[in-house]
């Protein structure tokens, strides 16, 4: 665990010394403030649109951070050869994967904290209420979702050599699951034969990232989610991440690394 934490520290340091996070945060803030200056129907209290836009920007930015950060970890280590002095130390490949995952996930968590704080300030300035519990729940589920995404992209990074191809494929998969994942079961019911079965299998195999998107609850102030549902979603996310990390280790553990 010591090695994984040390590695995670380096990943976090890298993210905050690069400019990606700052650029995305400034873009999100600027776009939200521009939208915030627009008065819909000349009514100051209508902030749903503002919340919707701000949360959408936060989701897009966080997914960009998670995918691009995780995609470059192992391929960049191999390309820049920093992996050799590292693995020449008493570090196992399992610890390397765990450290990279932990670093990316914690870095995403810190970025989310800043984003949601900004969201809270913006909405509180217009609504004059701060439903802290609902925001924390939304952020927690969002973070668990990013854990699955990070694990998925890390798996891709040991399969695909180039970080760019891994990022592209990961964006397509994550986007596909977010937009269509929940509808696959419904579509499968309308199909007969093999295609319906295949769609059912896909539905039950893919990680359902769309479950973690609770933007509507926050936007419309529909109240808190039952804690049991949050706990279930957390467990599901952690198990899925662990499964993907296990698969990453299986592929990477005996991979030849030549200097």
């Amino acid at each position: 665990m010591n090695n994984a934490l040390a590695l995670a520290g380096v990943v976090i340091m890298e993210l905050y010394r690069r400019k990606d996070f700052y650029v995305l945060f400034i873009m999100t803030a600027l776009m939200t403030m521009v939208l915030g200056s627009v008065k819909f129907f000349h009514d100051d209290r209508i902030v749903r649109y503002l919340k919707d836009a701000c949360l959408l920007l936060i989701w897009v930015s966080s997914l960009v951070i998670a995918v691009t950060t995780a995609a470059r970890q192992i391929p960049a280590e191999r390309e820049s050869r920093t992996i050799f002095p590292l693995l020449a130390k008493p570090v196992s490949r399992a610890e390397l994967i765990a450290g990279k995952f932990l670093g990316c996930w914690l870095a995403c968590g810190l970025a989310l904290l800043v984003f949601y704080l900004f969201f809270g300030v913006i909405t509180a300035s217009r609504e004059h209420v701060w439903p802290l519990g609902a925001y924390l729940e939304a952020m927690w589920l969002h973070w668990i979702c990013l854990g699955i995404v990070t694990a998925l992209v890390l798996f891709g990074s040991v399969v695909f050599t180039a970080p760019s191809s891994n990022s592209t494929i990961s964006f397509i998969i994550v986007g596909g699951i977010m937009f269509c994942g929940g509808h696959l079961n419904g579509v499968a019911l309308h199909l007969r034969g093999v295609s319906g079965t295949i769609l059912h299998v896909i539905y039950y195999c893919i990680p359902h990232l769309e479950w973690y998107d609770v933007r509507d609850l926050v936007i419309h102030d529909w109240g808190r989610i039952p804690w049991l549902a949050v706990a279930g979603a957390t467990l599901y996310g952690l198990l899925y991440s662990a499964f993907l990390l296990g698969a990453t280790w299986l592929v990477f553990r005996r991979k030849t690394l030549t200097v």
Binding site: A6, F84, P90, V91
Partner: protein, 249 residues
């Protein structure tokens, strides 16, 4: 005398790049022992299998058959690397870190207690003359300075075995002298050094024993002075004869 590195009947083959291409044998039937406290030169022409053997010792490449151990521990176990320092031929480190941060990271990996960590970092930075630039990001360093960062990280855990892959390649004469001084100092301290090099004059000066590899197989192994006596020529000519080079008369 105990063996620090022990390689038994090692075979390493890499799968062919093309479909149906036969696997390429990089190392074949290599058996070798490095004794405690000696400076061991690992020689051979390019493609002889030196780096592959080092990669097996460091766990980067899995052996197809045979075994290798360091301090009696199978090289596949990460703990086998607890007492070693490794300097790759080309040194690349996290460029977004300063040398001090990099060394602190590696010291943490070696589980050096925090009370000793800073003292150790100060010591190695002094040894490689990087004290003044310790807080600068590595990306701002010259090539020579980056090579010295490599040496510093290889020495951070006060290793009992130092594995150096062509440590003087690309260094200026001053840098080479520094590396040689460090190897000699380690030898005086009773440490074991296992290194590959093409600088045969240097090898002859600092090594106790050498092994010459050619086409993946061990051709010659022995004490430098004995080989020179046996072949009646200097180490460079011993090397050329072993690899089958016929000089034009």
């Amino acid at each position: 005398m105990s063996h620090v590195v022990e390689i038994n009947d090692l075979r390493v083959e890499f799968p062919g790049r093309e479909w149906r291409e036969r696997p390429k044998v990089a190392v074949e039937g290599l058996t070798l022992q490095v004794r405690s406290g000696e400076v061991f030169g690992f020689l051979g022409p390019n493609g002889a299998g030196k780096t592959t053997t080092m990669n097996v010792l460091l766990g980067f490449v899995m052996a197809t058959s045979g075994s290798a151990s360091i301090f009696g521990v199978d090289v596949r176990q990460p703990i086998a690397r607890q007492r070693i320092g490794y300097l790759p031929e080309m040194t690349y480190y996290y460029k977004f870190l300063s040398t001090e941060e990099l060394l602190r990271f590696y010291a943490r990996i070696f589980r050096i207690p925090s009370r000793d960590r800073e003292r150790r970092i100060d010591g190695v930075l002094k040894l490689v003359d990087l004290e003044a630039a310790r807080r600068r990001l590595i990306k701002t360093y010259s090539k020579g300075m980056q090579q010295r960062v490599g040496l510093a990280q290889a020495l951070i855990n006060d290793p009992d075995l130092l594995i150096l892959d062509e440590p003087t390649s690309g260094l200026d004469p001053l840098g080479r002298m520094k590396v040689r001084e460090i190897i000699e100092r380690l030898k005086e301290q009773g440490k074991t050094v296992f290194f590959s090099s093409h600088e045969l004059g240097e090898v002859e000066t600092v090594c106790d024993r050498v092994a010459i590899l050619h086409e993946g197989r061990l051709r010659v192994e022995g004490r430098v002075d004995e080989l020179v006596k046996q072949y009646q020529c200097d180490l460079e000519h011993v090397f050329l004869r072993v690899v089958g080079y016929q000089p034009r008369s």
